[in-house]
Symmetry: C2
Subunit: 101 residues, 2 copies
DNA sequence: CATGTGCGTAAGCCATTACTTACCGTAAGT
DNA sequence: ACTTACGGTAAGTAATGGCTTACGCACATG
């Protein structure tokens, strides 16, 4: 299996922190690590997971590896959650009609 | 911390499997466990995590505990992801304008 | 060609956690 | 009251995984 699902990748707080940094714009690995209380290799490993999940994308500028949020992986997670939305609302409606029990 | 974020709760494959079963409609604990390759106590523990994350809700019918997907937790995850959507599209646009590199 | 910079990978350690079985509590039926 | 049904909890174990340091590779610069 190994992180097939994007939600596996987002299930770690540090990884979400990396993702939230990239949300502000593309960053090199070292820059990301400088903003976090973990080492650069740790960030590198997290980025690999995020990349395998399709959540970030990489490009190279000389020796620097620039990462950026990828829309595709985000869209995948979104559509996954959308599938729950309709049934969830139905449930909520029935729940309310029972009087909130 | 311990599963403060709903995405932490959704970061486990078995827990997502539980959630996907509940997506089809409310179920008792034993019913859920019967659909999965893990024991009933394991399901019970996963349901507790999902419940603490606000992703599922519980009601009782006699000795049966009926679980159902909760809209609130789902909405939380959705709004979290929505925050990435706009910036992600901007990034994608810039990416395309660079020629897809 | 040598040095410096920026990252990824390997190996190992430690904490987290997902799972099991055993047990206990509660509700309903006989 | 006894029994059965249904689930949560406790305790212990095995595995996952997140982190570190050490190392190696690619690119740029003197």
């Amino acid at each position: 299996m190994a992180y097939a699902h994007a939600l596996d990748a987002l299930g770690d707080p540090t990884r979400r922190a990396v993702w939230e940094i990239l949300r502000k714009g593309p960053r090199a690995v070292g820059e990301i690590a400088a903003s976090l209380p973990v080492s650069r290799p740790a960030v590198s490993q997290h980025l690999r997971v995020l990349r395998d999940a399709g959540l970030v994308r990489e490009r190279r500028e000389g020796t620097r590896h620039i990462y950026a949020v990828s829309p595709e992986g985000l869209a995948e997670v979104r559509s996954y959650l959308e599938g729950f939305w309709a049934t969830s609302l139905d449930e909520f409606k029935a729940y309310a009609e029972r009087g909130g029990q």
